[in-house]
């Protein structure tokens, strides 16, 4: 760690990891309710569990992005963060907001209140006051990092990262628009959801991956910057109009079926480029970095994102296919592997990389960390397969043969049991990761000198 303010990342990563634990436990609980529907149904209904599962995911991924930003911006800009105080204030606002959401939903407080009450749109469930808090936190954050970058060295990595972060904030503003017309509601809802995960988040992902490749492989910055520009260009050239694949059946014009099919079929390209990029850099790299686990997570991120976001996305993105699979467990399968592969993995990669530096230690518990990668990935891959099978059967019985929804669901428990099992494996992997990252192995003395060449 070269700059004292990089330490801010530690607080962000810690909160993010706590929420990660809550998120997967919530997921496990939801998976259990799938097979034992009466469990907790009076106290904590499925919709609340599901909301906690998805929202804690979104929040911790964002906290991870923020932490990663605070970690890598000083090194890239060669300058300390403008205001550490503001950075911690931002974190406090976000934590209060998160607690606010949890408390409001679990105890069903302020029903119907315009400011304090539940807003109940998928993924944007936060009460209005929390949304406004997020906007304030985003403004603080953008001010803080933009000023740091403007006064410091400008690199392609900081440039793309900043565009991504500004995009996140700008598109979040659409969450404040909730018209009474459901079609319009849905159209602009995707401005947040799609343009986040299939556009601007990809910029954040690409720049963090580029930073990791720079540090871990020692390949020239010039080469990495060209790759990363190519990747983000492909991501936006395809991803912006790729939004069309959400505009097939929600009351929008028919031409979206063509636009969405064509552009989202090509959305696999940036993920493919990312795989080639990561492996090329490692292959060309001449550096033997001690943090093998961070490298594993980085490569794993590229590969799993390619399969989860790319391949599983393509499976059901063509309009004639999506006509039958839309809103089935196929979507759930894709969602799980895509989020895990792309955004969970990149966060775990940067955390694995940064933690030893933040704590002033050598990378420790490498083997356990790497084992956690394989356990988590295997669990998630198996979950994806089971949900894909469940979704295929559901599509056939319900969408083709026209059997009733619940009649079909009653035929799928075997898959939901397997999904629950794979979910348990994921949770074990997460616990292994948390232990490996936060609990020191034998108390090795910090040897900054040996880690230094890696900078």
């Amino acid at each position: 760690m070269k700059y004292p303010t990089q330490k801010i990342a530690l607080a962000y990563f810690a909160v993010a990891m706590a929420l990660f634990a809550i998120q997967v436990l919530g997921g496990l609980l939801a998976g259990y309710v799938y097979v034992a529907p009466n469990f907790l149904s009076d106290i904590l209904p499925f919709n609340i569990i599901r909301m906690l599962h998805t929202n804690s995911l979104i929040v911790w991924l964002l906290l991870g992005f923020f932490g990663a930003t605070y970690y890598l911006i000083p090194e890239e800009a060669e300058r300390d963060i403008e205001s550490p105080m503001l950075a911690y204030l931002q974190l406090i606002i976000l934590v209060i907001g998160t607690l606010g959401v949890v408390v409001t939903y679990v105890f069903d407080l302020f029903p119907g209140n315009w400011l304090l009450g539940k807003e109940g749109r998928e993924f944007l469930e936060q009460p209005l006051w929390v949304k406004l808090g997020i906007v304030v936190a985003a403004l603080i954050f953008l001010y803080n990092v933009t000023m740091t970058v403007l006064k410091g060295r400008k690199t392609a990595i900081t440039n793309i990262l900043l565009i991504g972060l500004w995009g996140i904030a700008i598109f979040f503003l659409f969450s404040l628009y909730n018209p009474g017309n459901l079609v319009l509601d849905k159209m602009y809802w995707w401005y947040v959801v799609h343009l986040w995960v299939e556009a601007v988040w990809e910029l954040v992902l690409a720049s963090i991956l580029a930073f990791l490749m720079l540090k871990l492989t020692g390949v020239d910055r010039e080469v990495i910057e060209k790759w990363v520009y190519s990747i983000v260009a492909l991501a936006l050239f395809t991803g912006l109009l790729g939004t069309g694949h959400h505009y097939y059946w929600i009351g929008t014009p028919g031409y979206w079926q063509w636009i969405g099919s064509v552009f989202s079929a090509l959305e696999v390209a940036p993920f493919f480029a990312m795989v080639v990029f990561a492996f090329m850099m490692v292959w060309k790299g001449h550096r033997d970095h001690p943090n093998k686990a961070a490298l594993l997570w980085s490569l794993g991120c590229a590969v799993l994102a390619f399969f989860g976001a790319g391949v599983w996305g393509f499976l059901h993105t063509l309009a004639p296919v999506n006509y039958y699979t839309h809103g089935t467990q196929i979507t759930a399968a894709h969602g799980h592997l895509a989020f895990f592969g792309a955004y969970v993995s990149i966060n775990l990669a940067i955390i694995t990389y940064a933690m030893p530096h933040l704590l002033g230690r050598e990378p420790y518990n490498q083997v356990l960390n790497m084992a956690s990668f394989w356990v988590m990935s295997a669990g998630m891959a198996f979950m994806t397969f089971t949900l894909t099978f469940a979704g295929t059967i559901q599509t056939h019985l319900q969408r083709v043969l026209g059997e009733g929804y619940m009649d079909v669901q009653d035929q799928l428990p075997v898959f939901y049991w397997m999904r629950f099992g794979s979910g348990a494996v994921v949770v074990i992997g997460v616990l292994m990761f948390l232990y490996a990252t936060f609990v020191p192995a034998s108390a090795k003395t910090p040897q900054r000198a040996s880690a230094a060449p890696a900078e």
Binding site: P253, Q398, Y405
Partner: protein, 147 residues
């Protein structure tokens, strides 16, 4: 101009090009939603209040509506059609009212819907919302009444 800054400018320009097209098409789709695909005249205050009931009870975190939402409970975009009678609109209205009042079923091994304790007014509004949603022109999705 170095190729790197040129590369950056092409990235900006190309992305802007696609963004402009996307926004323009959104405007067209916005007008389409207002003029073609939804019953703008029928979008009464009751429908909007019903949408609010739908939201404040986080219905979408179990159900789907027009295929979006959680996948734990049935699609409701077409529930008015699935549970209704084309000749007698009251059938669907009755069904939804009775359904809301009889939850949770408590049947062991069956997915449970919570009792939301909606007022008669709220149930009415919610029903109006679901009726209105069923009139949206969705390019003939879902493929059948099962949703």
């Amino acid at each position: 101009m170095k190729t790197k800054s040129a590369a950056r400018n092409i990235f900006y320009g190309g992305s802007l090009f696609f963004l402009v097209i996307f926004v323009a098409l959104t405007v067209d789709s916005h007008l389409y939603a207002l003029n073609v695909s939804t019953d703008q005249a029928g979008l009464t205050e009751a429908v909007v209040r019903g949408k609010r009931v739908w939201e404040k009870n986080a219905c979408i975190d179990c159900h789907t509506i027009l295929g979006e939402g959680a996948y734990y409970a049935p699609e409701l975009g077409n529930v008015w059609i699935r549970r209704g009678d084309p000749d007698d609109p009251e059938v669907a209205r009755e069904f939804i009212r009775d359904w809301m009042k009889s939850q949770p079923s408590g049947v062991e091994g069956r997915r449970q819907m919570p009792q939301f304790n909606l007022t008669d007014q709220e149930i009415n509004d919610l029903t109006e919302f679901l009726r209105w949603v069923s009139t949206i022109k969705t390019q003939n999705w879902p493929p059948n009444d099962a949703g």
